[in-house]
């Protein structure tokens, strides 16, 4: 196990592989030295390299601060792969990531065919997780930052202009995903969003991760995290 303030890499023997957009529940304290924070954290697999899984995050709360401070060699529990993951994109489709949501998109971008358009946003250049990795893909990549410190100044969704028949894959803050949904809906395009609700279990038993859809409540951990945005009610957070 190796960790820094915004990411970690750990060996997970027996990991069966996963689809881009699937996630794992990371338990901070499998030996139960502490009983707080109690719950594991859902984290998108940023990248698998051999037997190692990589995760990316920002130290925004207790969980991510602890993840970033783990000593080399510390043990985590890993439950996964969980969730549905993304359907594979086609040429012309859009991958739109904001903030830590970018972590869900790296493998999708890496495995995407030529012609997929990758659009990433954050407050500053430093907030674009894995920027160098994305740049190394040699794909159609554009970046927007709130302060203009990299790429265009403004919202990443200003770089997104889907046409009918295309699909937008979005993961990031709710306002970003809502905007992606609106752009797609207006153009007759489809939009798949990956949601980052609070979770307790990650495997379908607590019902804590419910999201309201046109078909009633669905669970982000088992039915998602990827949903067709047209099934979600975008007025509620």
């Amino acid at each position: 196990m190796e960790a820094g303030p915004t990411g970690l890499s750990l060996a997970v023997p027996g990991w069966p592989g996963h689809r881009p957009g699937q996630f794992a529940m990371l338990g901070l304290d499998p030996a139960r030295r502490h009983r707080d924070p109690l719950l594991p954290r859902p984290m998108a697999v940023y990248r698998q390299s051999g037997a190692n899984l990589e995760f990316r995050f920002k130290p925004v709360g207790r969980g991510t601060r602890l993840l970033g401070e783990l000593a080399a060699g510390a043990e985590l529990s890993v439950l996964g792969p969980l969730g549905n993951g993304f359907a594979p994109p086609r040429a012309g489709d859009w991958l739109v990531g904001g903030g830590t949501g970018i972590a869900s998109l790296y493998e999708l971008a890496r495995d995407a065919p030529r012609g997929v358009r990758i659009r990433l946003g954050g407050r500053t250049r430093a907030d674009i997780l894995g920027l160098a990795d994305f740049e190394a893909l040699g794909a159609d990549l554009a970046v927007a930052t709130d302060d203009g410190s990299h790429g265009a100044r403004g919202f990443v969704t200003e770089l997104v202009a889907p046409a009918a028949g295309e699909t937008v894959y979005a993961c990031g803050p709710t306002p970003m995903m809502r905007r992606a949904h609106e752009l797609a809906a207006r153009a007759g395009a489809r939009c798949h969003v990956s949601l980052e609700n609070n979770m307790a279990c990650g495997y379908g038993v607590c019902l804590g991760c419910a999201v309201r859809t046109s078909a009633g409540f669905r669970y982000v951990c088992t039915h998602g995290p990827v949903f067709d945005s047209s099934a979600l009610g975008w007025s509620a957070s």
């Binding site: 338990g27 499998p30 139960r32 009983r35 707080d36 924070p37 109690l38 719950l39 594991p40 207790r62 529990s77 439950l79 609700n197 609070n198 979770m199 307790a200 279990c201 990650g202 495997y203 379908g204 038993v205 607590c206 019902l207 804590g208 991760c209 419910a210 999201v211 309201r212 009633g216 409540f217 509620a236």
Partner: protein, 310 residues
């Protein structure tokens, strides 16, 4: 001592392979856990509480973390009694001991759910979730009012011949009074406790974290409260008790057994590890081996008092 520990126990007429059940609302309908756990190696599972009709829960957010625990207001979302019997129950491995939790907002409806489950062979016992607000009494929990609780148990007792467990609320002045009411009305065992009522506030947004405002506090934080309630109930009634609240290890479970519980349920900690129930079972066995206890039943109620010379 390397001999096998005899883990068998019982809750009234319900014989259990070992003392560890999974708590209602924390193991779904069982099938969700099948990828991780051989359900028939547990003492049993208490399925998600069932209502007469399918029931949608609260609008999210429904959960948030609390110190050494979590706060939830799922509001008892479930598929309804019919779908449970038709679809969920048959999916469980034979040999799984299934307790069905029953929940409603009015007494007649509670009794009706019991009636529907009464003839279902696969169900070993019913557990009345009495920690739910009674609509007609302005939202007070059934388990908070001795008269309401008595009427509830009486009606459900009349509706089923199955072993009837009553799951008590911790949010009461006197658990002894509630326990005696249940005993008087013919309950077969008591499960205690449900989550403790709590609240957490998102100070940046100046609103409760949960849309529902109030929620149920569960997890290790409540263990000392739950253990005290079991101990108090033990002194009030002779009914078998099932201890619930924050259990995360064999030692935690043994503490409940010593205080007088014949079995325990593991809840929230299962969210952190789907094999938690099995690990608690193994922890109980390891404790027994270490302490030279041949049969787990010997532990039940075995708490010693402090002597003057200790």
């Amino acid at each position: 001592m390397s001999a096998e520990v005899d883990l068998r126990t019982s809750l009234g007429a319900v014989a259990l392979r070992n003392p560890v059940l999974l708590a209602s609302g924390t193991c779904g309908y069982g099938a969700e856990l099948a990828p991780f756990v051989a359900l028939d190696e547990l003492g049993g599972i208490v399925a998600k509480s069932l209502t007469l009709e399918p029931r949608a829960g609260n609008v999210p957010p429904r959960i948030t973390e609390a110190p050494a625990g979590m706060l939830n207001a799922i509001s008892l979302e479930n598929v309804g009694v019919e779908a449970f019997v038709r679809e969920k129950l048959p999916a469980l491995p034979a040999g799984t001991t299934v307790v069905s939790s029953v929940f409603e907002t009015e007494i007649e409806r509670y009794a009706e759910v019991c009636k529907r489950l009464d003839g279902v062979g696969r169900i070993a016992a019913l557990e009345l979730n009495a920690s739910c607000p009674h609509v007609k009494s302005g939202g007070i929990e059934f388990g908070q009012d001795p008269k309401l609780l008595a009427s509830l148990v009486r009606a459900c007792r009349a509706a089923t011949a199955k072993p009837l467990f009553v799951k008590l609320s911790p949010n009461v002045t006197s658990i002894a009074e509630m326990a005696r009411v249940c005993e008087g009305e013919g309950a077969d065992a008591l499960s205690l406790v449900n989550a403790v009522q709590g609240m957490l506030v998102d100070v940046e947004r100046r609103r409760p974290f949960l849309r529902n405002g109030l929620g149920g506090l569960s997890g290790p934080a409540i263990l000392p409260i739950a253990l005290r309630l079991v101990w108090q109930a033990r002194r009030a009634v002779r009914l078998p008790l099932c201890g619930i609240g924050g259990i995360s290890s064999g030692e935690d479970a043994v503490a409940f057994l010593l205080c007088g519980a014949s079995a325990v349920q593991v809840g929230t900690v299962g969210y952190t590890n789907p094999r938690a129930g099995i690990e608690v079972r193994d922890g109980i066995a390891a404790y027994c081996r270490r302490q030279g206890v041949a049969a787990v039943r010997e532990l039940v109620g075995g708490l010693r008092e402090w002597g003057p010379e200790d």
